[in-house]
């Protein structure tokens, strides 16, 4: 068995990316994710890769765009304000259907906000962020091990669907150390006939582009892209269920919030409150079926979030508004304690949502 090592979440992302065959990283420093860049700066040159610190987040995402267009496995990472800057590029990459991995180790906002952990970029990640109709596959790790495994998964999904995969982490998971094991995994490769490699005079030129001045063409392109998204929604939702078999109250939480929520579920059970947890691992596609099934049997939901309540809207939609949904949240870099979550479970037990 592979060795257990202690690693920071941010470093685990970087190491996993290298193991997934990523040899190109373009980024710009921002707390609390800079360890990813530092790790890449140290390791990539030693494995024949390229680490380049760009002049801005805007430049770095466009370097990613160029690199991705050549069919090369590539990534960038940033934190909330930096992702806002990258959003233009994300829209172009999505509109050109090229694959890339983008990491957002979230911090509190809006504006310059703070540097403590947050989940307040949920809307930005799952609903678009940049302009136009597009989706990204959004993966939400809840442990250092998952920072690694979902990074590898993210690269694969990006290549499989020619989409952006975003790792939506937060400052806690990025900064914490936990034991992690890297299993040797086979890295799948995909044909990329659209890639810019030079025609060598042997084929018609490839064009990577998101401009369609004829509205009927642009519409057709959008419909085509959303057919692909429908397949992703059908095949790729991931989630974890914890103590849901006989649950009467369903806590929904992802990332660091799910860790706190798990403690609260255990404490609630000790008080005789039948609580369970659904942890979305993919935020887009959102695990709608799991929520819909839960809505049939539980009395209500509690959405635990490090934001003013963003995922709660998807919980309501996915559960068809059949059962009440309460919000247990902290914002601005604060994290709810297990006691705070437990208190909202006690209320839910009394029917107070």
């Amino acid at each position: 068995m592979a060795e257990r090592v202690l690693m920071k979440g941010n470093e685990a992302i970087a190491e996993a990316a290298i193991r997934a065959g990523c040899r190109h990283y373009f980024g710009y420093p921002i707390t609390p994710q800079t360890e990813i860049a530092a790790y890449m700066a140290k390791k990539l040159p030693k494995v024949g890769g390229i680490f380049l610190q760009a002049e801005s987040e805007i430049a770095s995402i466009n370097m990613v765009y160029g690199a991705a267009a050549t069919g090369t496995r590539v990534m960038t990472s940033s934190s909330s304000p930096g992702i806002s800057l990258k959003s233009e590029g994300l829209s172009y990459i999505a509109g050109s259907d090229v694959p890339a991995l983008v990491v957002n180790v979230q911090r509190g906002g809006p504006g310059l906000g703070g540097i403590q952990p947050s989940q307040s970029d949920y809307f930005q990640a799952t609903k678009g962020g940049g302009h136009g109709d597009y989706r990204m596959i959004v993966l939400a790790p809840a442990s250092v091990q998952e920072m690694a495994s979902l990074t590898m998964k993210g690269f694969d999904l990006a290549d499989k669907y020619n989409m952006i995969s975003m790792i939506l982490a937060d400052g806690t998971i990025g900064q914490m150390m936990e034991p992690i094991t890297f299993e040797d995994a086979e890295v799948a490769t995909y044909e990329k006939p659209w890639a810019l490699t030079g025609t060598e005079g042997k084929r018609k030129h490839n064009i990577v582009n998101s401009l369609y001045l004829k509205p009927d063409e642009l519409e057709a392109k959008n419909f085509e892209r959303f057919e692909k998204y429908a397949i992703v929604e059908e095949n790729e939702p991931m989630w974890e269920e914890y103590m849901m078999e006989d649950a009467e109250i369903c806590v929904v939480a992802f990332g660091i919030a799910s860790r706190v929520a798990k403690n609260a579920v255990v404490a609630a059970r000790a008080e005789g409150i039948k609580a369970g947890l659904i942890r979305p691992i993919t935020l887009w596609p959102f695990p709608k079926k799991a929520l819909a099934a839960a809505a049939e049997k539980v009395n209500g939901f509690v959405s635990v979030e490090l934001s003013m309540g963003q995922m709660i809207e998807d919980v309501r939609l996915a559960s068809g508004c059949k059962k009440p949904v309460a919000l247990c949240n902290r914002a601005g870099g604060m994290i709810p304690s297990p006691d705070e979550v437990l208190e909202s479970l006690r209320k839910a037990q009394k029917g107070e949502y």
Binding site: H24, F26, I50, L52, A54, E55, S56, I58, A59, S60, N62, M63, V64, Y65, G66, A67, A68, A69, T70, T72, V74, E88, G89, Y92, S96, L196, T197, G198, T199, E200, G201, K202, H205, N206, I207, V208, N209, S210, L211
Partner: protein, 251 residues
């Protein structure tokens, strides 16, 4: 029948969308001729800008990508760093390169990215219908400087070559024009050299091409070319602003 004139291989046989009298067609042709003559069309990857040349990806027969406004040098950097064996060039206007994309321009030059930048300076935003550009001349009337560019209000036009030449980074920075036959010939030489530099791994080469925009300047094509000579070139003098390899040889 002997063929005495034909399109370069690197230029697609499609109608260009440019306005009558627009020198973009000439500049496209010069780039395509350079690719042909150097035998690099099959290796070339071009980056189109946002601006009048936005659809350049349909005109060059090499692989092409369309960049966000101003970001062409960053996109080119990403491509070149992944595929150093390819020849990567950007084709950008003044708004794209010297306004919104100035950071990308300066930093790719500072890094001496081994790419070729074709910078078309016609002192106006063409695609959006004739607004003030970072290179619009003092007093120049545009849609957004209807009383003439007032430098006290909106600053001075930027001389890109002179500015980039102050950097240690870039290999080759030169300004040419396409307002008469002699200048077109010299422009061709400069563009070819800028690609040759990349082939030889010398680094960042930028050719600023002083051009005209008859439509948005509100002039006939002939008058516009005269205005290049009388008004543009005095502010933007033709010349080689930096040529590291030539400077070394002289020493």
């Amino acid at each position: 029948m002997a063929v005495v004139f034909q399109k370069p291989k690197s230029l697609a046989d499609v109608p260009l969308h440019y306005c009558p009298g627009c020198p973009h067609g000439i500049i496209h042709r010069l780039v395509a001729e350079a690719l042909d003559e150097l035998g690099i069309e099959g290796k070339a990857i071009g980056v189109a800008p946002v601006g009048c040349a936005v659809m350049a990806y349909d005109y060059f027969t090499c692989d092409m990508i369309e960049a966000p406004h101003g970001r062409a040098p960053a996109v080119a950097t990403g491509i070149k760093r992944c595929r150093p064996e390819n020849i990567v060039f950007t084709y950008q206007g003044d708004g794209d390169l010297a306004s919104i994309g100035m950071a990308e321009t300066v930093h790719s030059a500072a890094r001496n990215e081994n790419i070729t930048v074709i910078f078309v300076n016609n002192a106006i935003y063409g695609m959006t219908g004739g607004q003030m550009a970072p290179t619009s001349l003092p007093g120049q009337v545009t849609q957004t400087s209807p009383y003439g560019r007032d430098v006290n209000h909106c600053g001075w036009p930027i001389r890109v070559c002179e500015m980039l030449a102050t950097l240690e980074g870039p290999e080759y920075v030169t300004r040419v024009a396409v307002n008469n036959v002699k200048n077109v010939k010299n422009a061709k030489k400069a563009i070819k050299k800028a690609f040759q530099n990349q082939i030889e791994g010398k680094g960042f080469s930028l050719v600023e091409v002083v051009s005209a925009c008859p439509t948005n300047w509100g002039m006939t094509p002939q008058k516009a070319l005269e205005w290049v000579e009388s008004d543009m070139l005095p502010y933007y003098p033709i010349g080689v602003y930096k040529d590291r390899s030539a400077a070394k040889e002289e020493k």
